[in-house]
Amino acid sequence: DVKVTQSSRYLVKRTGEKVFLECVQDMDHENMFWYRQDPGLGLRLIYFSYDVKMKEKGDIPEGYSVSREKKERFSLILESASTNQTSMYLCASSYRLQETQYFGPGTRLLVL
């Protein structure tokens, strides 16, 4: 079974803090994704990566950056957290871009 893990289930941060969310997958997938999930808005793509050190912007990249130094690990960085970044963050991975994505358990981030 594919396993995608995220470093934290819950995080509470202050406005202006730098926040790191880590995601690791164990299936040697090429592609990794970061989404945020908000009530009524569904899943929105922040960034994705199709290879080590490669990244592409999704629909809502503003205020976020990403890092993929190793194939199995994809990090989401909030450079200066703001209250409107309070959300559920979901990481996913897939073998090919147009195939099923497998999700981690999510990180619920609260920015005060």
């Binding site: 808005l41 569904g42 899943l43 871009l97 147009q98 195939e99 099923t100 999700f103 358990p105 999510g106």
Partner: protein, 113 residues
């Protein structure tokens, strides 16, 4: 723009009954469709998928139907159980959206004992 939507935001069924969750998609060029289940506090979990060259696919207690003529997707759950209570998302991939998977808003399924 492209969208994947659901006909009902909530669905309540009696335990043991069959459930049908519907989804409409707008991009006729999409060629891959997925259903996910998301339980409270967890990430979405893959249930079943179907490609556009098929109109039906069956899994364990679940069936996905694809009607390309009316751009409609449905998920049927047989003999619904309390553990089926969750939010169900449809998603589409391919077509003019390219790599991007477009997710529907979700339908919450309640199973009454």
């Amino acid at each position: 723009g492209e969208s994947v939507g659901l006909h009902l935001p909530t669905l309540s069924v009696q335990e043991g009954d069959n459930s049908i969750i519907n989804c409409a998609y707008s991009n006729s060029a999409s060629d891959y469709f997925i259903w996910y289940k998301q339980e409270s506090g967890k990430g979405p979990q893959f249930i079943i998928d179907i490609r556009s060259n098929m109109d039906k696919r069956q899994g364990q207690r679940v069936t996905v139907l694809l009607n390309k003529t009316v751009k409609h997707l449905s998920l049927q759950i047989a003999a619904t159980q309390p553990g089926d209570s969750a939010v169900y998302f449809c998603a589409e991939n391919g077509g003019t959206g390219g790599f991007k998977t477009i997710f529907g808003a979700g339908t919450r399924l309640f199973v009454k004992a």
